[in-house]
Amino acid sequence: MSILSTKHLLGIKDITTADIQLIFKTTDNFKQVINRPIKKVPSLRDVTIANIFFENSTRTKISFELAEKRLSADVVNFSSSGSSVKKGETLIDTVNNILAMKVDMVVMRHPAPGAHQFLARHIDANIVNAGDGTHEHPTQALLDAYSLQEKLGDLTDKKIAIVGDILHSRVALSNIYCLQKLGAKVRVCGPPTLLPKHIDGLGVEVSHNLQETLEWCDAANMLRIQLERQEDKYFPSLREYSLQYGVTLPMIKSLKKEIVLMHPGPINRGVEITSEVADSDQSIILNQVENGVAIRMAVLYLMASKNKDAE
């Protein structure tokens, strides 16, 4: 098996199917590690990682930090609130100042799509995208696909639906790239106002009918309604949205086959899915969270070994 084809993880679009498979194989090993009495390995003990978050995050940040600590890396955390960013410092100055303190890798979340590409051109450290605006969120897509593969086996020709706010979702775009690279068929489903124009250009099916989509798919990824990114009104009310696009238990029970349900979190309970569905046996939401740590350990491990090669 070869090494990763890229020095940075900016998006799923830039990596190959072989990269994804390598990450998954390594994840299997790290999943073993995080399920044993001592959940820590010394691999990255000489690596320092900065987590730079220009946007709010709970689980991604905790997940990355845990992954880093379980690899024995040194970790520094930075969030834009309460920092010099508020004093007008530019992105590249902020990051260069952090790198001047001898940091090897940067995990960054930023509201501007492409912020990571910009950084990758200008700085030397490995960069992991932890979400850039409405563009990509590669580690989320990897953990989603990994969790699906655990449940469904090989994803070739499996039918996966991505439901909800596709327009504002970086998870959707990364998921589409990742699932397609693994051979799955992808359908997006949501109200026309929340589907980007020309989304069919990505080779996905488009539907506005939730019931029909659920009957079609093997698994459905229910995306969060991103109210914080919605400046205009995209639907009349949350209640109306959930009536049309919320998954309920009777709906799931009425299907001919058992489908897998995912949600990248945080859940708006009662909007995208009801509590009964979120807590049902068919939901793999907590598996996704567990796998998140293992996936991020694998990504950081593989990129750290790449680091030395590049020198």
């Binding site: 070869s2 090993n29 044993r36 070994s305 030395k308």
Partner: protein
């Protein structure tokens, strides 16, 4: 040049001898487990388990340990270190552990293994079985407790342990045709 140093029959004799030595020291394996190192130590580990059963009717506890995350050449070697599966479904704590690997050379993988074992608990003791002990190139102070064959070889030689259907041959390959 490629030269055979251990034939099938010789390896069989060696395995029988090591099994006797193990039973001498560990009795009927009431509190002892065999832990083979991934990936190259596992055929030897399995062969020992099988032999212990044939010779003494001992059903030895067997596990497989991977040391990749504990190696000291991560980020220092050109190769990507790909981890292997760990299979340990017993408690290491307070057990007597017999580590099994095919060739002992620099000793660094055993050093990593000693660290890796500790992640699963504190064993009562750790012994080391190796089929081939290549002398003169140890980089850390580690010595085997049970040895198949001691070999004096040059640094650029390569010792190849080849398993086919539970049978094993050992070759020494000099630098020209690795």
């Amino acid at each position: 040049m490629k030269r055979i140093i251990l034939e099938y029959e010789q390896v069989e004799l060696i395995l029988t001898r090591i099994c006797h030595q193990l039973v001498e020291d560990h009795g009927y394996f009431e509190n002892t487990a065999i832990l083979a190192l991934q990936p190259k130590g596992t055929p030897l580990g399995k062969a020992l388990v099988k032999k212990l059963d044939t010779l003494f009717g001992i059903k030895a506890t067997y596990g497989e340990l991977d040391t990749t995350f504990h190696r000291d050449d991560f980020r220092r070697s050109d190769k990507l270190l790909i981890p292997n599966e760990v299979n340990i479904d017993f408690e290491i704590e307070k057990k007597r552990i017999i580590l099994v690997d095919d060739v002992l050379y620099t000793g660094r993988s055993i050093r990593a293994a000693l660290d890796a074992v500790n992640d699963y608990g504190r064993p009562a003791s750790i012994d080391l079985v190796t089929l081939i002990n290549r002398k003169y190139k140890r980089e850390v102070p580690i010595q085997p407790d049970y040895v198949g064959e001691h070999i004096d070889s040059r640094t650029d030689d390569y010792v190849k342990v080849e398993w086919a259907d539970d049978q094993c041959q050992v070759w020494i390959i000099t630098d020209n045709d690795k």
